[in-house]
């Protein structure tokens, strides 16, 4: 089949169309089958009556035939049975009806147009008994008047009920499937948003959907495990590398202290500086890992973010002043929140240092803190070169240094660290275009 429904809606429509067609066909089929069966039965009866009047092979004797007809008409209240015996000229010899038209030999149908009293539809058998004498026997195919119309209504009611039940069932089925699929989609969305622990809810009936959800959940568990393993490996590397690296750095530091080191002191200081950079980088990675474990939430205390922002700006101000940069603060009202003071300080210092480091001499940095209905909104904007829209996702990744930032000193972990700290506080961090410059917007729920 070329066309196949791919969506639940398409499937529903296709099913409905198919169902209605088949139902209509079945209805019509049943209707006509019943009709032809009635015709066959009536034909049988008419033939039997006709043979009762004039048995096949009996000798030509219309007196006897007339007698039988009169007898039959008298004996029975044969409102549904009509008989007529005519001679070669079509004159009536005996019978209880008249026909308005000549009837053909053999079986044929009668209806209202034949204007026979009390007959709406019937079958007639006309036989030639010899010498032009014809016997016509008919019977009604509708035992009750307008039985046909009644039957039509019956069919509509019966099949209509089936259609309604199936339609309702279909809608219910569609909703049920839609809901289960929606649950899986919601789970996937939450996981994309970083809620790795989210799983698809199970109904507990062990049905196909539950089995599928359970399989999906097991897959998520496995992925979580693998992610944790990868994280552990990188944490282990950071841990294991720090110790020998620190030893190396210490050896260099002790060497530099010696008088004999005077001629190579510059080179030694450079090497120590590089070792320090590496140690700082490993330290930052371990810090991120510690933050992401969520363990520090247990130590959350009330923090006055407005005061902390001012404090951290004062800490960075001399650095900005040396590049002739200004840091402006817009604080509207107190912003108290539950948090980790050390980590929030580190986040602020990181972002402010970035703003100072990545903007040219004379740049402006604007820090604003607002408290709204939804929570606290903290924004740090500069009028430096900013980060191009297509580079922002990269800038948020660990070691994801953009083309521009590569020229500056730094380990490429500043933004990911700040982001991890914001997420620990159940907030969001987004990079925006400050036109010109970069605006980092953080929101925290209260």
């Amino acid at each position: 089949m070329r066309w196949r429904p791919q969506t639940l809606r398409g499937l529903t429509i296709a099913f409905l169309a198919l169902f209605l067609t088949v139902t209509a066909a079945a209805g019509l089929g049943t209707f006509f089958a019943t009709l032809s069966m009635i015709v066959a039965l009536v034909d049988e009866r008419v033939e039997a009556e006709s043979h009762a009047i004039a048995p096949v092979g009996a000798k030509f004797d219309w007196d006897e035939w007339r007698e039988r007809i009169t007898e039959m008409a008298r004996q029975r209240d044969t409102a549904d049975l009509g008989m007529l015996l005519t001679d070669a000229q079509g004159r009536r010899i005996a019978g209880n009806v008249r026909f308005t038209r000549p009837l053909p030999l053999g079986f044929s149908s009668l209806d209202r147009r034949d204007r026979i009293e009390g007959l709406s539809a019937g079958r007639v058998l006309v036989r030639d008994l010899g010498q032009g004498v014809r016997l016509a026997v008919f019977a009604e195919t509708e035992p009750i008047d307008d039985y046909f119309a009644v039957r039509q209504r019956l069919y509509i009611a019966g099949f209509g009920a089936i259609v309604v039940v199936v339609l309702a069932g279909l809608l219910l089925f569609r909703r049920l499937i839609g809901e289960r699929i929606e649950q899986m989609r919601m789970t996937a969305e939450s996981i994309i948003d970083g809620d790795i622990a989210r799983r698809v809810p199970l109904v507990g009936d062990d049905g196909e959907f539950d089995q599928q959800a359970a399989a999906l959940n097991r897959m998520l568990d496995r992925m979580g495990q693998l992610m944790a393993e990868v994280r552990n490996v990188s944490n282990d590397i950071s841990h294991e590398m720090r110790t020998p690296l620190a030893r190396l750095r210490n050896e260099l530091a002790l060497l530099e202290q010696r008088d004999a080191a005077a001629p190579v002191r510059e080179a030694l200081m450079l090497a120590i500086g590089q070792a320090d950079d590496l140690l700082t980088m490993f330290g930052a990675m371990l810090r991120i890992a510690e933050i992401e474990s969520g363990a520090r939430r247990a130590g959350f205390q009330s923090v006055a973010l407005d005061a902390l922002v001012e404090e951290m700006i004062e800490m960075v101000r001399p650095l900005a002043a040396e590049k002739d940069q200004r840091i402006a603060i817009i604080l509207n009202e107190p912003a108290q929140m539950a948090g980790d003071r050390q980590l929030l300080s580190q986040m602020l210092i990181n972002l402010l240092e970035n703003a100072v480091r990545h903007t040219p001499v004379g740049a402006d940095v604007r820090v604003s803190l607002e408290r709204g209905q939804a929570g606290i909104r903290l924004a740090i904007a500069d009028n430096g070169p900013g980060i191009a829209a297509d580079q922002r996702a990269l800038a948020m990744r660990r070691f994801g240094r953009t083309d521009v930032s590569r020229h500056h000193k730094g380990h490429g972990l500043g933004l990911p660290l700040a982001d991890a700290i914001v997420r620990l506080h159940r907030g969001t961090l987004t990079l925006e275009d400050a036109g010109p410059g970069l605006r980092i917007v953080m929101t925290f729920p209260i």
């Binding site: 030893r247 700082t280 130590g299 300080s345 210092i349």
Partner: protein, 225 residues
């Protein structure tokens, strides 16, 4: 300043390296491999300072520290902790630790902290309203400072910096020590923030004379005593 140091560390390799490095600074170092050995030796000899590893099998560092303090020993104690033991810091100070450093530790940093601890202990023995270093006089209670009798116009941060340097005059004060003590932060900024503040302080100090602060490159600062 030569000190009698007790180094308690279960990692033999680290113990040997630290002991060697501290000896190079002129200190007399004795070692203990675990908590029980530490408690045994500390009662027998007089130490200027104890360097105590937190994580040790058996009797751990914090237990040793508590028993020392309960026994009335007020020797300065510096704790060695592993990275990530953040909440232990509060517990350590509550138990009576005087300072702590995160492993792996820089020998110069460790030495600077040991000097600062011993010096602070000695100066605290002679309580005084003012702190002096060379021609600089500071009154912590009045938040005022003078050089050669003339008042210095310092910001709050500059005042705290000068006071910290003056309290440790003649010894090295490292950048992490300043970050901790002036700003109360437990991480190192990625820029030369501390240097920028020191430069601002220097500008104000040299208005009244020569530069009394010497820079130990890559490490920290020392105010002339």
């Amino acid at each position: 300043m030569s000190m009698h140091v007790l180094l308690v560390e279960d990692d033999r390799q680290l113990q040997r390296q630290l002991a060697e490095q501290l000896s190079q600074f002129g200190h007399q170092v004795e070692t203990a491999d675990d908590g029980l050995a530490a408690l045994a030796i500390v009662g027998q000899k007089a130490f200027d300072i104890v360097v105590l590893d937190w994580m040790m099998p058996g009797v751990d560092g914090i237990t040793v520290l508590r028993q020392l303090r309960e026994g009335g020993m007020n020797v300065p104690v510096l704790m060695l902790t592993a990275l990530g033991q953040v909440f232990d810091k509060v517990e350590g100070f509550d138990a009576g630790a005087d300072d702590y450093v995160v492993k792996p530790v820089d020998p110069l940093e460790l030495n600077a902290r040991l000097n600062a601890l011993v010096r602070a202990r000695r100066t605290n023995d002679q309580p005084s309203d003012t702190v002096s270093a060379g021609d600089i006089t500071i009154s912590p209670s009045r938040l005022r400072a003078w050089r050669g009798g003339r008042p210095l116009n310092l910001s709050q941060t500059e005042f705290k910096l000068l006071l910290e340097l003056a309290r440790n005059a003649g010894t090295l004060v490292t950048r992490p020590m300043l970050i901790e003590r002036i700003w109360g932060l437990d991480f190192m900024p990625t820029t030369n923030l501390v240097d920028a503040h020191i430069r601002h302080l220097r500008v104000k100090l040299v208005e009244q004379g020569d530069d009394p602060i010497s820079t130990q490159r890559g490490m920290g600062y020392m105010l002339r005593a």
